[in-house]
């Protein structure tokens, strides 16, 4: 009791204290340490809150009714679902906070670290409160705090043009999501005074099916644009590379999951699920996101943008799990539906770990080589061995290789899709094999993409002076990444312990019915109730380790010759230079050709000749670009229309005070008339 009631205010206090104290810190160095300290206190307290709620399954409530009492006051109500997402937030924040201590030292002199510290803690506070929110006001307030704080964090390097553009796209998309979320909440509320989530459940029950459908669509669009589903994902590949690496880790690993939280909370908790087309929409959106995310990631050479596109892919996978669960739920197959939802939650947790790890490791690389371009890296495994190993663990996890956590959660998503064959309607059930195919293709392409990302960045020889001079990253940055790497391994090998805990979380979600007798106990196997397969990641890990060990020992017993170092075989050429290595573009070229219809790469070849004679070539420039076509189709018209409207409206601003007074009088008369006509 004591621990629980202290932890929640401690979490809030940690973040608020960190924010305020960082703002008034005397020096940049002090600001860095105070930021980290506040964030660490807040995250640890958040973990305590989450652990308590998950273990006892009793919600924790904290109300501050005096703050804007008209809107219902500030209400924090942590139920198991919220606690799960709070744990995800805290698991991402803790390493990021530790990481930021050394990483932000590079910004001293360029940006205000006090302001950064303020915004960092406000960001963490916003994310934590979103997961804890108990009424509309708290939720929307926290949501906006999170969005605005992250905008300022993204704009840390505002001296770079791409960052400013990224910030513009980002703030536009967050405001768009707010614009869709507000009407959604208002539709759900049964009355002006009753805005707590418990009241929303009651209100949702009284809505007509059409209104429920509209609420669901608004939720998918609003929360989906925050989560980064195609085609609302366009801010992700711009904002995540522009932000500092630990902020990218938080945004990619944690913040976009709050979009998933919103969808689950609104569609399945408050509204208790719906007709099959809800799940079908989620399944389609998820499959498309997964496939397009990884296809565009393959063409990227910017390390952080590649990771950002992979976030789109993994959100797609999470939503596939949600969609499968939702369809099964709408047909009454409750026990099979829980496999889908549990798979979605599991992948949420896993993605937070391995994406955070990858961004932190990439941050190490960027910190030391001062470039994000893979084509300028190489050979870093010898200069930065720990970072390389960390990136390798993250790559193996995201490529869903056993026995790490990515494999366990993708396995569960596959099982959820396989369960779809029990659906009585054949035309609905046939969508599931297509989703299986798309998911498998996305998974294979992800493996190919990370062979490229790890291989080109870390292996072979350095391709530039930056890479050749790189040293290992500072200790705090490595420690933070090792924490996440350990989490990846533990969550993978310990899958059989994690999955039953996820089922217990789902028991608290209103619309889902988990039969306690069929929910499995922790053991050696991942089992789902009446599932179509059995898997034991811990035994597979043990099997693999023992076989490799036996092989190593046997080979070293049998083979006694020493190893000899020699040049790489290059058909006897005289020397080997880094220019002879394979490049990232070359690695992805076969896939670029295979999917050329989708990519529509543009090619530009410019040959400039000597002015005196057309036969002497001075330079040849070849540029090839892959630009997502839906940006041209969907966003360019909107942006152009917006510009046109802006130009038209600008004509109203003539600068003449007399005209402005006419505007004021006209508006006043219109307001008075409207009051008179519509009482």
């Amino acid at each position: 009791m004591m621990a629980g009631s202290v932890a929640l205010p401690l979490m809030l206090g940690g973040y608020v204290g960190g924010a305020c104290l960082a703002l008034v810190a005397p020096s940049s160095r002090a600001a860095r340490y105070i930021t980290a300290l506040g964030a660490i206190v807040g995250s640890v307290a958040a973990l305590a809150v989450a652990a308590r709620v998950l273990v006892t399954a009793q919600p924790l409530v904290l109300t501050v009714p005096n703050v804007l009492a008209a809107a219902g006051g500030l209400v924090l109500s942590v139920d198991p679902l919220g606690a799960f997402f709070l744990a995800v937030v805290a698991l991402g924040s803790l390493p990021a906070a530790i990481y930021g201590v050394s990483y932000t030292a590079a910004y001293e002199g360029r940006s205000s670290l006090q302001f950064f510290g303020l915004m960092f803690n406000v960001f963490l506070l916003g994310m934590s409160v979103v997961a804890c929110a108990g009424n509309i006001f708290t939720f929307v307030l926290a949501w906006e705090l999170m969005s605005l704080a992250s905008y300022f964090l993204v704009m840390t390097e505002a001296d770079v043009v791409e960052t400013r553009e990224a910030g513009l796209w980002y703030i536009a998309m967050t405001q768009f999501s707010l614009v869709t979320l507000l009407p959604m909440f208002l539709l759900l509320a049964p009355g002006a005074e009753r805005t707590a989530f418990a009241d929303l459940r009651v209100g949702a029950a009284h809505l007509t099916p059409q209104l429920r459908g509209i609420v669901f669509l608004l939720a998918v669009v609003g929360f989906g644009s925050k989560a980064g589903v195609v085609p609302l994902h366009v801010w992700l590949p711009r904002a995540h590379p522009a932000a500092p690496s630990h902020v990218s880790a938080l945004m990619s690993g944690v913040m976009i999951k709050l979009g998933i939280y919103g969808v689950i909370r609104v569609a399945f908790d408050l509204m208790n699920g719906g007709p099959p087309w809800w799940g079908g929409l989620l399944l389609v959106v998820g499959s498309v996101s997964a496939l397009l995310g990884v296809l565009y990631a393959l063409m990227e050479h910017d390390l952080k943008r590649l990771l950002a596109y992979h976030s789109v892919e993994n959100i797609g996978i999470i939503i596939i799990g949600l969609g499968a669960g939702a369809i099964l739920h709408s047909y009454g197959l409750q026990t099979l539906a829980t496999i889908g939802f549990a798979a979605a939650l599991y992948h949420t947790l896993n993605h937070a770990c391995f994406k955070g790890l990858l961004f932190l490791a990439a941050g190490n690389v960027v910190h030391r080589t001062h470039t994000r371009n893979m084509e300028e890296m190489g050979g870093l495994i010898k200069q930065m061995p720990q970072t390389a190993l960390l990136f390798l663990i993250g790559s193996a996890a995201i490529a869903a290789l056993p026995p790490l956590n990515g494999f366990a959660s993708e396995w569960m998503v596959f099982q959820a899709l396989l369960a779809g064959t029990s659906i009585p309607r054949p035309e609905v059930a046939l969508g599931f094999p297509v989703a299986v195919g798309m998911l498998a293709l996305a998974s294979g392409l992800a493996a190919a993409c990370f062979v490229k990302a790890f291989g080109i960045s870390f292996l072979a020889m350095p391709r530039s002076a930056h890479a050749a001079d790189a040293r290992e990253a500072p200790a705090s940055m490595r420690v933070a990444a090792w924490m996440l790497a350990g989490a990846c391994i533990l969550l993978g090998v310990g899958a059989s312990v994690v999955v039953p805990a996820l089922y217990r979380v789902l028991e608290s979600v209103g619309g889902l019915v988990v039969d306690p007798q069929l929910a499995p106990a922790p053991g050696l196997w991942i089992e789902a109730p009446r599932a179509l397969g059995h898997l034991s990641p811990v035994l597979i890990a043990a099997l693999l380790a023992s076989i490799v060990l036996v092989t190593v020992v046997t080979v070293h017993r049998v083979h006694r010759r020493p190893l000899r170092l020699s040049d790489t075989w290059g058909c006897g050429r005289i020397a080997q230079t880094p220019r002879m290595e394979y490049t990232a573009s070359a690695f992805a070229e076969p896939l670029r050709r295979v999917f050329a219809e989708l990519y529509r790469p543009t090619q530009d070849l410019t040959v400039s000749v000597h002015p005196d004679s057309p036969h002497f070539v001075q330079s040849i420039t070849f540029t090839s670009e892959v630009r997502p076509w839906f940006e041209e189709v969907l966003y360019d018209p909107i942006v152009r229309a917006g510009r046109l409207i802006g130009v038209g409206v600008r004509r109203l601003q003539t600068g003449s005070v007399h005209l402005y007074l006419v505007y004021v009088v006209a508006a006043l008369m219109a307001a008075l008339a409207s009051v008179w006509w519509w009482p």
Partner: protein
């Protein structure tokens, strides 16, 4: 306990037989080309020779290059323990299912591709790039074939699929199974680097896919990689034989049944080997950018397999 020993023996048999399969296919191809060819046990002699050779490692390579042969071999052996060769274990079967098999093999390929990039040689990079392209494009077909098999058996574990097919023989000859078998056969050719996707005996580096990644390996490293490749071929053949035509697989361990099962699996794998040898003699290698067309055709077959299994239930 007895089951653990039995599974261990089965795995060792798998590992021991794998080079023999490669040797048999090579011998068959030689005879079809009108020449004597090396004896069937030639790969064993070659492996023995490789263990006596020196290890030469490139100066630009890192620990990934030296670790990759062990990872590839380890994952292949782990998969071999999960695939029933002569008998179906009951408890051990639950450790991993067909998805675990596919992703363990992907783990091996992942490390081998990294090793190809590690030496800084353009051949290695090219091999890695092509291999990952082919593997990525075969994934959907494999997943859908698993789906088709799991539909009838209501499980993705290999033992359950075998049991279900034995119990319902009529289902095994249905269109769904035949289509899934064809799709899986094409995937076998792609993943193990046989014609028409990749020529295992080519010397032209620019035509290589799998071989290009291992150009830098020597001595015991090369032996492990070659053994793992042979093991992968045997694994795919046994999956094709025992999941689609499982009659003869033993469920207990009476010696008579085990010997019968062994003879039958040798017969089935032998037939598949003859089929592959005849196919490799008949067809020419496909141009690299025609391979995705073949793989899409196999994907469509797998999708039709699932649809027909589903609709004809």
């Amino acid at each position: 306990m007895i089951e653990a020993i039995a599974v261990l023996t089965q795995t060792l048999a798998f590992v021991a037989l794998a080079p023999g399969l490669t040797g048999f296919i090579r011998w068959m191809k030689a005879r079809l080309q009108g020449r004597r060819g090396a004896p069937v046990w030639q790969p064993y002699v070659e492996l023995r020779k490789l263990f006596a050779k020196e290890r030469v490692v490139s100066k630009t390579a890192s620990w990934v290059f030296r670790a990759a042969p062990f990872v590839v071999f380890g994952t292949s052996v782990a998969v071999a323990s999960l695939v029933p060769l002569v008998f179906v274990p009951t408890a051990y079967d639950r450790i991993g299912d067909l998805f675990a098999v596919v992703y363990l093999l992907l783990l091996g390929t992942f490390f081998l591709a990294l090793a190809g990039l590690d030496t800084g040689s353009p051949f290695g990079g090219m091999g890695a790039s092509r291999e990952m392209t082919v593997v990525a494009l075969t994934e959907p077909t494999v997943a859908l074939s698993i789906f088709a098999l799991a539909l009838t058996a209501q499980s993705t574990n290999l033992g359950d699929i075998i049991r279900q097919t034995v119990a319902e023989p009529v289902r095994a000859l249905g269109t769904g199974h035949l289509l899934a078998f064809t799709a899986l056969f094409i995937v076998t050719l792609a993943e193990t680097g046989r014609l028409p996707i990749d020529n295992p005996s080519t010397h032209l580096e620019l035509t290589m896919i799998h071989e290009a990644m291992v150009l830098e390996y020597s001595g015991p490293y090369l032996a492990l990689v070659e053994w793992a490749a042979a093991l992968k071929l045997l694994i795919f053949f046994v999956i094709a034989a025992n999941l689609f035509l499982p009659w003869g697989v033993a469920f207990g361990w009476s010696p008579a049944r085990l010997i019968l099962a062994f003879l039958l699996i040798v017969l089935k794998v032998g037939m598949l080997a003859v089929l592959v040898a005849v196919l490799e003699t008949r067809v020419a290698k496909l141009r690299l950018f025609r391979v995705p067309e073949l793989l899409s055709a196999s994907f469509v077959m797998a999708l039709l397999a699932v649809l027909s299994t589903f609709l004809l239930r």
